[in-house]
């Protein structure tokens, strides 16, 4: 069989999220160099704040301001930062209990090496130069040997009101993958690049799948036998596309159709060209057209044969 194919696959999405009253106040506060927490019914101060008590599920709205210095409650030294992490040089991940808070915030600590970090050490916020209302407005923490000891700062009431509050965040996420379509689809794509269409037959129900995915979804067994189908086929159904897709250079309206290649057990889909859009019909006989060095047919065009009888393709609609 040909080499299994792989291709880069990038998934990127700007997740846009709204903030409730507590998260809005917290993130706006960071923009204004103010760290807010929320007080629970039993008097504990949660930083970062949440809208509901994690123990009692009671609604929490009692905002308080805490210090910008704190104590490391645990840490881990990261010798090789990954691309999207806050610091490009080796750093420590830290949980920091800010002065006046009872819970810890996860962030990073800029320190020269692991020997400079210990649980219980005093640290302070280093603010980002450009702040937008996000947890990354804290650029990182830094050692604060000279700062006042824990216990001297107490949480003080805060309205949570700021001018121009941040009500939402946009968090871009980008992940890079190497997509591998597997044995069956690699074979299919390799054949297609050679202008041949190869399906796979189910050993049990004898249906020929195009494109093959390696399994018969009816029988739940591997499709094993390679079967060359087409190149000609029959339009089984179609639709007329009237909206131009972004980045696709095809004049509208055009026809997108289900095409049952001769010998295939189900229809695949493709664009119909070489005929006015309003003359495409069920039963139209078509053949693939490759353009340039394309690895798959650009479109299908009429062969000029008489239309296929409905009975010949009715099972493949």
């Amino acid at each position: 069989m040909p080499e299994p194919l792989t291709a880069p696959l990038v998934v990127e999405f700007p997740f846009t999220r709204s903030l409730g009253p507590v998260q809005s106040a917290f993130l706006t506060g960071l923009r204004e160099r103010t760290v807010l927490g929320v007080r629970t019914g039993d008097g504990r101060v949660l930083v970062p704040p949440v809208e509901y008590d994690p123990v009692t599920a009671e609604e929490l709205r009692d905002l308080v301001e805490v210090g910008t210095t704190g104590t490391v409650t645990t840490w881990a030294w990261n010798p090789s930062p990954r691309p999207q992490q806050p610091l490009a040089t080796p750093f420590a991940w830290v949980l920091v209990r800010l002065d006046g808070a009872d819970t810890a915030l996860l962030h990073v600590l800029d320190a020269p090496g692991p020997e400079a970090v210990r649980t219980g050490m005093r640290v302070r916020v280093r603010w980002a130069g450009r702040r937008t209302g996000a947890v990354t407005d804290i650029a990182c923490f830094e050692p604060a040997a000279d700062a006042a000891a824990a216990g001297e700062t107490v949480a003080t009431a805060h309205t949570g009101a700021f001018a121009e509050p941040v009500t939402g965040i946009t968090v871009p996420a980008r992940l890079e993958y190497t997509y591998a379509p597997g044995r069956a689809q690699s074979r299919y794509l390799a054949a297609l690049a050679g202008h041949r269409t190869v399906g796979e037959r189910c050993p049990s129900c004898r249906k020929v799948y195009v494109p093959p995915r390696g399994a018969c979804p009816t029988c739940g067994v591997a499709t094993d036998e390679q079967v060359e189908v087409g190149p000609r086929g029959t339009v089984t159904t179609f639709c007329i596309v009237n909206i131009k897709a972004k980045g696709v250079d095809i004049e509208v309206p055009y026809v997108y159709a289900h095409i049952a290649l001769d010998g295939a057990g189900l229809a695949l889909h493709g664009r119909i060209g070489g005929i006015p859009y309003d003359q495409v019909r069920m039963g139209l006989r078509v053949e693939p057209v490759w353009t340039g060095d394309g690895r798959y047919p650009d479109h299908y065009r009429p062969t000029g044969e008489p239309d296929a009888d409905y009975d010949a393709y009715k099972e493949l609609l």
Partner: protein, 357 residues
């Protein structure tokens, strides 16, 4: 939930078959369904059933591993989902799919269930991919990876005097030595602990990154007895979750695992075997403490996730390995545990028993 009905009144359900792939670093030559299908055939073959004879099918996987939406629908091709079957999917480890199937059988809506899960970590960079499951407001923007979060927990344990690097290395060594008897394991035998990945965790404290799949068959009552010589009866199962903010939790303990175990009946009688889904050595320390496991309990005789950790299948494999040990007569009463999320955020515990006949 398990205390709501007395065990006598409840329908008996057992794991009657288990199969898994040989777990590998990279299975790029196979699609998910191509990787999964032999496991489905093997597990059904063990009980002589076809997919069409199964009453309920439930699967576990994760779109973020594949980088594609609804990726599990492609894997369904391997089951034979036409004519329409009764089917469900959980977007997490297959252990939770097994829980759903167990409930389905308890209700009497089905007599048999096929549960499978799979994960291919090879297409992406797992440490980065897993950051996307975190709280999107306070954590995800910092991209704290799975090893970093586990390392914070490990340091907390060291600070508390619960373990040290030597003890963690011993967990790694014991696990991978045990995996020498497991032909499906990805890493086995004597291995150096290696350099720090994120201190205090070294390479040996971390699970291998790999691809794999697993499947089990559940059956109720006499159907189970007919399909299996020595069924692994599920005496109880429960799952619980911690507060999601890491800074709220005591990372040296796992109250959710303890509560799940209690509700599953794990403390009603001693267990002889425990299959723990502890991908990091330090997490075994937490779980042993939370579950009260003594040195007389055989922990992870399969090698556990430190020997093979196909994400989304590794928890289901713990239930399968524990059941298989009962099937073989090597265990009478076993605890199986699965986890999901950072630092043992979510925990599922099942108690399995063999019947002396």
């Amino acid at each position: 939930m398990t205390t709501a009905t007395s065990p006598q009144a409840r329908r008996e359900v057992a794991i009657v078959a288990f199969a898994q792939t040989r777990h590998v670093r990279d299975s790029a030559t196979l699609s998910e369904v191509e990787m999964l299908m032999p496991v489905l055939h093997e597990v059904l073959g063990q009980v002589g059933l076809t997919a069409g004879e199964i009453g309920f099918t439930c699967s576990g996987s994760c779109d973020y591993l594949a980088g594609r939406a609804f990726s599990f629908t492609m894997a369904l091709d391997g089951v034979g989902a036409w004519p329409p079957i009764s089917e469900s999917h959980v977007e997490t480890d297959g252990a939770w799919a097994l829980y759903e199937a167990w409930v389905k059988l308890l209700t009497g809506e089905a007599d048999t269930a096929l549960v499978y899960s799979y994960g291919k970590s090879s297409p992406g960079r797992l440490r980065d991919v897993l950051t996307r499951q975190l709280d999107p407001y306070y954590l995800a923007p910092l991209w704290p990876d799975s090893v970093a979060l586990a390392a914070l927990q490990a340091q907390a344990l060291i600070d508390a005097g619960d373990t040290d690097e030597t003890a963690l290395a011993a967990v790694a060594g014991r696990s991978r030595t045990a995996a020498g008897g497991n032909p499906y394991a990805q890493e086995s035998g004597d291995r150096p602990q290696g350099a720090y990945v994120v201190r205090p965790l070294r390479r040996g404290d971390c699970p291998p990154v790999g691809d794999g799949a697993a499947a089990v068959v559940l059956a109720a009552g006499d159907t189970a007895r007919r399909l299996c010589e020595r069924p692994a009866w599920i005496r109880g199962m429960d799952h619980r979750i911690e507060a999601h903010a890491l800074g709220v939790r005591d990372l040296t303990d796992s109250p959710s695992a303890r509560l799940a175990a209690e509700r599953a009946g794990a403390f009603d009688a001693p267990v002889d075997t425990a299959e723990l889904h502890a991908p990091f050595t330090s997490q075994e320390v937490v779980l042993r403490k939370a579950l009260g496991l003594g040195d007389d309990v055989t922990v992870n005789p399969s090698g556990g996730p430190l020997a093979a950790n196909p994400v989304m299948a590794a928890g289901l494999i713990r239930l399968g390995e524990a059941a298989a040990r009962i099937h073989r007569g090597e265990s009478r009463r076993a605890l199986a545990h699965a986890t999901s999320g950072p630092c043992l955020q979510q925990n599922l515990v099942a108690v399995l028993e063999g019947e002396d006949r």
